[in-house]
Every structure is written in C-alpha cells, then in structure tokens.
C-alpha cells in the first residue's frame, strides 16, 4: 500500500496534549437535540446557529435578558473562547423558581419540584450541576408552553417537608421560602454587586 503521507498529517506521533498542528476529533459541531415529547429527540443543530464547530468544553444555561427563555454560554478551548447565545425560539410562558430553605439548606439544593399545568406535569431536581468546568445556577426554570396558569407546584424539600403552592404567577421568577405560602416575586433589579462596580471597596 501507499506510503505514509506525513505532509498531510497522516498518523502523527505527538502527545495529544502537546499537539503541534494536527487535528484530533476536530471541527466537530456542538449538537442541539430537541425533545419531541414522544420519548425521542431530533437534531436541530443547524437550525439554531448555535452549533459551533469550536473545541467546546462547557455550556451553561440561564435567562440573561429576562425574556423567560433560556440563553446559553458556551466555553471553548479554541475557536473563540466564549459565546453567549440569546434564545430566539418563539416566546412561551414560564416560571422560574428559587428556593429559600429554613430547615433545609439555605438555597434548597437537593429539592425536588413537581409542577402541574393543565395536562402537563413537570419534574425537576434543584442541583447546580457541573457538567464539566461549569456550574448551572441554583434555580429551576419551568417552560410552560402555552399554559397561562400553574395549577400546582409541589416542593419536596431536603428537610423532608413537602409544600404545595397554588397561587403562582406565570412569566415570573419567584422565591419560595420553606413553609411560607406566599412566594416572593423577584423582579430583576440592580443589586449591591452592581453597585460594587462603581464604588471602591
């Protein structure tokens, strides 16, 4: 058979950690898989334009512009170190929940949340996951689709208590305190950390 084509980069001999110019699982696109409700996913990567072919390592999600839709931050080792992607899916209804533990830990880490809205029941666990060199926020975002009301939110606190709330707004971020019936609505504002940017410590 033919000779090794060194000039074209065939079969290189260095450590992948100290590579000097040869591809290794290169230009692979990040993939976005959309849940189709029937237990399967479809690949919509190209349709999102968030299918970077950078060397990506981490992704975290949060609503940075307060439109209720989850935006993304993607961190790469190469090909642009960081990208912020603003969500442009059609706007839907939503409820974002932060927790305040009393008997439980202060941010309710480990709580299980069950939300009922019309025919749909949603289940989430509150863990600020580190999927790789990253951390998700300590909050839970429920996408409600076209539902305009939440029938019931049940919180199974780490303390063992469970709490049922029925009077909940939609398109809102609320903080639920363990044992208190009325959730506090969180309107994004300017907190003390922003002030710190203008004031010397």
């Amino acid at each position: 058979m033919g000779k090794l084509d060194v000039a074209s980069g065939e079969f290189w001999m260095e450590s992948p950690w100290e590579s000097k110019g040869n591809n290794l699982s290169a230009f692979e696109r990040n993939r976005i898989l959309l849940n189709t409700r029937d237990g399967s996913f479809v690949d919509v990567s190209h349709l999102t334009k968030a299918d970077l072919d950078s060397d990506s390592r981490s992704v975290v999600a949060g609503d940075f512009n307060h439109d209720g839709m989850e935006d993304l931050i993607v961190r790469n080792t190469g090909g642009g170190p960081l990208f912020v992607f603003e969500n442009r899916f059609p706007k839907k209804h939503w409820l974002r929940v932060s927790l305040r533990g009393v008997r439980s830990n202060s941010l309710g880490i480990g709580a299980k949340l069950k939300l009922e809205a019309g025919p749909h029941t949603l289940w989430r666990e509150l863990y600020p996951g580190n999927t790789f060199l990253s951390q998700m926020p300590s909050q839970v975002c429920f996408g409600l689709g076209d539902a305009t009301r939440v029938d019931r939110l049940t919180i199974f606190w780490p303390s063992g208590e469970h709490q049922v709330l029925e009077a909940l707004p939609v398109d809102a971020h609320v903080r639920v305190t363990e044992g208190e019936d009325s959730p506090q609505r969180i309107a994004p504002g300017k907190g003390p950390l922003a002030d710190a940017s203008r004031v010397s410590p």
Partner: protein
C-alpha cells in the same frame, strides 16, 4: 515496511507521560496500551491515535518486548491491578494501518471532489464516480413529518417503508433533488461526507471490492430559512487505492439507509457575545496559536451573588485568571472582580486548574466561592472576604467540585472529583492501578462534609464515596431512587461510571448495574427528567469518532476475549441517554431516539430550549482542531 518505519520514528519517541507510564507499568501496561491504541485508542479518536505516543511503543514492543525498566525516580511506582489483556498480531495491525491509509486517501483526494460536485449540482462529475451498471436503492416512501412546530419542520423518508432501485442517472437526479432543497451555489450549501465504515469485502484483499458507510450532510439555506439534508448510505466499491483522486467509476452500488430534511424559519439562537461586555479577548484560545493547547482552558460558573434576580458569572481562565461578572437587567455583564475582592490571578500559582464552585458554605443564604484552593465568603452580595485561613478545606487539583447536602443536615457539602491529579490525600502516594481500558490512574474523589464554621470533614472512606478511580471529569448529584437522598454519579474517562447510592446513614453503596459492560470514555454528564415521569434521567458525554468506528469494524473480533471485545465495542458508541426507572436502575435509550454519534464530547446540558416543559440537550464536542480540510477523525 510499516508506516511507523516509514516515518522514521524511533521507539523511544513517546512523550514524557507515556514513557513514565511505560517504565512504571512494564509489560502488562504495554499489552493493555497496545489494545487500546490499536483498537480502543483508534476508536477513541481515529487514526490519529493510532500513531499517537503509546501506539509507537506499543506496536514495537509488542513484537520486541523491552527489558523491565526501573521506576522513574520522579514518578511514584504505579501499582497495576490484574486486567484482561490481549493484543493483535503484527499482520492484523498492519491490516488496520493499511485500511486506514485508504480511508485517508479517500478523505483527502476523492471526497472533496464529490462534495464539490454535490454543492455545484455538477451532474456529470457526480455520475463519473458511479460504475457502469451502478445500482442505487432510494427511499421509496413519501416524506413524513417527524417534528413540526411554528418554526421547525423535520421530515424523513423511511427506506424500510419501501425502497426503489435506481440506475446511475436516476440516482444522481434524486441526490440533486435533495440538493435542490437548498439554495444554489456554495454560499447556499455546504457538503460534508463522513466516512463511518471502510473495509475490503474480503479481509486483506485490497485489490478486490470494498464496502463503506457514508454520512452525508448538506447544510445551508433556502431563501431566509435554514435547511439541512442528511442521509446515510451504504456503498459497495470497486478496488480503491492510491489513485482514488484521479480514477472514477468506483462506486458500484449505494443503498440509502436514512434520509432527513430539517428546515427552520430563522436561527433559533443569536450570537450576542460582543454585546454582553464579557471580555473574551482576555480568555485563552488555542486557535490563536499561543503555543500551548491545554485540553481545558477555563470554566463558566453561574450564580446570583447578590440575589437581585440577575445571574452573575464567574469566569476562570488558565492564562488570564479569574473574572467575576455582575449580571444586569439588560443582559450586559459588568466586571466587578477587583471591587468584589476576587483575585484576578491565582493566589497560588503552584495550584493549576480553572476549577471553582459557588455554594453557600456558611449557611447565611448567599453563595460563597471556592476558587482553586481558596475560599471566599460572600459579604452581603457586595464583596468577598478571603476565608481560606479559617477554612480547613484542602481542595487540591480537582477536576470538579459539585455541591449537595448529602446528609440533609442543612449544610452544603462538597464532592471533589479527581482525574489526572491526586487529591491532598494521595499526593505523593502511588496510584492504586493504572490500566487503560477500565482502570484509570486510581485517584479517588473526596466527599467533604460541612460541619459548620468553615470546617469540613473528609468522610470519603466512612461514606464509601471515593468512586472507582477511573479518572472522573466531574460528577452529578441526583436522586436516582426517589428517596430524596442525594446520590452521586461520578463519570469516568476509563471504565464504568460510578453510581453511588445514598444509604441515608452517611454511607453510599455503589450500584454496579448502570454500565454492566463499559461506560464510554465519559467526559461530561448532566441529570434531568427529560420525560417528566418523576424519575431523573442521565445524559453522559462520551467519545465517539468516525475513524474509531472504522477501525473497530476492521478488527478481527476473534483476536480478543469476548468480554474485552464487548468493552471496546461499548466504548465506541458515543453519548448515552440513560432513562431513569426510579428505583436506582436505568435503561440506555436507543440511538434512533437520541443521537449518539456526536464526537469527542465534553460538558452537556439538559435545558428546556423552547420552553415547552421538556428538557432538550445541548452537547459540546470537538477536541483539538487545527486545519480545516484535513482528516478530522
């Protein structure tokens, strides 16, 4: 003459790390490495791994075993555990090399011409690749809708619903009809052909017919809409070799096994990076050619430091250090690092890494920060106080720090995972084992129990929470058996992942059922309930490569003990979605329901992108990219 000889590579060429491993582990290790590099290693990332480091020594030493070397004076002696070993004979190895060479020639010389012909709808050039008497099998049924909403339409044609045979002209017409779903010209369409399989039909008969599997993707636009057409085709080829670039007529038949067309009205995400104020120019980028190409360059950690409803971002970077960004109402991030009292550069330059976590460690209701080996107390959401000297945590070279209250005492505990470097406890001690396929370096994870007042107790041993030393990139906390006690899944680069079930008494018991055969060279993990059945599911990012799958398909499976072959095969299949059954057990979701062939993947996310109440998946991928147009593995 082997290709290695042709390259003039000396057997002592391997890198420092591989040399150290070889010296320390002796023949046993080499035998294992031979398997992994020649099969698993190639499987990991493609042919580039074939020639990688250990492969050189392994290939040579398998026929010329070296004398036992004394352990390196600078490295601890590695204690090897008994592992199942086998290796390929020289002829088998040569066969794999040679087939991969043909794949290389095809990727470099022939496929670019084909791709260009598709993009340009060049009927004559496309037809020239088809042999006289070509037979094609096309999906005969109608397009059916796999998913449709107000902005997305996914249509498929299922070949199993009926196929029709076509001659060369009709086959080319059909492919160009799919091409016609996109705008004309290279601005409207880009083509990719992934070479997933390539084998001589009779082993070793290079001059005879070949079989191949291609993954073809056409992506671009149609007017304003985004369009992607993708199909897989199984091909029979005539003799293929060095002259693939100049010779035509070697595709004898093609059977299209799947066909999908995706259309989106407009991009579903917009890159707004520049408008956010995040200083990406102060972040390491391997593509900028700084000379160093670390496998991980930095992290992104989200929290709400001042609880104002805006998410704040802690950014770490191996070159530029730390930046704390304050989120604002309009999506702009303000750099508050200095004012908040977070050091821009590591306080201890001797502590490498970009690892951090946000957690309320003192229980006062706001998120404190662990940054490398240092701990910072959140003071009123306005600034941070360095409390490292008050805190007895000994975080050292972790791969991740993940938070939970595992004993449900109201205090946040930390789970520190370890990959390539030991924790404080094992620093300077010999790793427990060093087998590649299902071993790892043996560095255990650490469970830190928060006892209050910035004091933590290392309860790893008592809790049985060390994991199995298989090079954990990270871990997730989740409740796998619906008892509301946090369990741990620590994912391993090598071997099976460690699922640790909380026994509600401070101890964990490892569930061995999650990966009965092998994990999948796991690099990232997310947990979430994608089907809303109340049972948390798991998505694990594993390695997958086209080249690796090609190589494995050409391996004589009889060369391996069945259990070892099964592990290698399992290790090549890509990402895994595990559907939770709620009793601590999981089932792996079939590939047709959740794409597994993504690539060399790292941290994924479960996130509801379209706010329909169902968790979707974002999976990162790509290891090291340098030159477009070159073989990409």
């Amino acid at each position: 003459m082997s290709k290695l000889d042709a390259a003039g590579l000396a057997p002592d060429d391997p890198t420092r790390s591989s040399r150290a491993k070889k010296q320390a582990a002796g023949r046993l290790m080499i035998a294992v490495v031979a398997i992994i590099v020649l099969v698993g290693g190639g499987v990991l990332a493609g042919k580039v791994w074939l020639g990688k480091i250990d492969g050189v020594s392994a290939l040579r030493t398998s026929s010329h075993p070296p004398a036992e070397s004394a352990p390196s004076p600078t490295k601890p002696k590695i204690v090897s555990a008994p592992v199942e070993t086998s290796t390929l004979c020289t002829e088998d190895k040569q066969f794999l090399w040679d087939v991969e060479h043909v794949a290389f020639v095809m990727e470099q010389k022939a496929l670019p011409v084909l791709k260009q012909a598709i993009v340009e709808a060049d009927r004559a050039t496309l037809a020239s690749f088809l042999a006289e008497g070509f037979e094609g099998s096309l999906p005969g049924g109608e397009w059916t809708t796999a998913h449709s909403d107000s902005v997305i339409e996914i249509r498929r044609r299922d070949p199993t619903a009926g196929a029709r045979w076509a001659g060369a002209t009709e086959f080319v017409d059909e492919v160009l009809a799919w091409r016609g779903l996109l705008d004309e010209g290279s601005r409207g369409c880009q083509a990719e052909i992934g070479l997933v399989r390539l084998s001589p039909q009779r082993r070793g008969e290079f001059a005879g017919p070949w079989s191949s599997l291609w993954r073809v993707r056409l992506a671009g636009r149609r007017d304003r809409a985004l369009v992607e057409v993708s199909f897989r085709a199984r091909l029979k080829l005539g003799p293929v070799g060095e002259d693939l670039g100049s010779r035509r007529g070697w595709i004898q038949s093609a059977t299209v096994e799947s066909l999908q067309a995706a259309k989106g009205k407009e991009p579903l995400f917009a890159d707004v990076t520049d408008a956010t104020g995040i200083a990406t120019w102060q972040m390491h980028d391997n593509w900028r050619g700084t000379g160093k190409s670390p496998g991980g360059t930095g992290g992104v950690y989200l929290g709400d430091i001042d609880q104002d409803g805006n998410l704040d971002l802690l950014s770490t970077d191996v070159t530029y250090g730390f930046t704390l960004y304050c989120g604002t109402e309009n999506g702009v991030f303000l750099d508050v690092t200095d004012q908040a009292g977070i050091p821009r550069m590591p306080p201890r330059p001797d502590v490498p890494g970009a690892h951090a976590c946000l957690a309320d460690l003192d229980g006062d209701g706001d998120e404190d920060i662990v940054l490398q080996a240092n701990v910072y107390e959140n003071i009123g959401g306005r600034r941070f106080r360095d409390v490292t000297s008050l805190c007895n945590l000994q975080i050292k070279d972790p791969s991740a720090i993940v938070v939970a209250d595992y004993d449900r005492d109201g205090r946040i505990d930390l789970y520190e995972t370890h990959h390539h470097a030991p924790s404080y406890r094992q620093a300077g001690q010999p790793p427990r084992k060093c087998a590649w396929i299902d071993g790892g370096f043996g560095y255990s994870n650490i469970l830190w129990r928060n006892v209050g007042n910035w004091q933590f107790e290392d309860v790893t041993d008592r809790a049985g929470a060390a994991g199995n030393g298989g090079n954990a990139f990270t871990a997730v906390w989740l409740d796998v058996n619906n008892d509301q006690w946090p369990d741990i899944l620590s994912i391993n680069e090598f071997g099976c992942n460690a699922l640790l079930i909380n026994q509600r008494n401070g101890a964990f018991r490892q569930n061995e059922d999650l990966d009965p055969i092998f994990g999948g060279f796991s690099m990232g993990v997310a947990a979430g309930d994608y089907d809303n059945d109340g049972h948390t599911d798991i998505y694990v990012a594993n390695m997958y490569s086209k080249a690796g799958n090609r190589i494995l398909a050409n391996v004589d499976r009889a060369a391996y003990p069945p259990t070892l072959y099964a592990k290698i095969a399992e290790a090549t299949t890509g990402n895994k979605l595990y559907r939770g059954l709620g009793n601590g057990r999981f089932e792996v979701v079939a590939a047709e329901k959740a794409l597994r062939e993504i690539g060399w993947t790292y941290g994924p996310a479960f996130v509801d992108l379209n706010a329909d109440g169902l968790l979707d998946i974002y999976s990162t991928a790509g290891f090291i990219s340098y030159q477009r147009g070159k073989p990409d593995g």
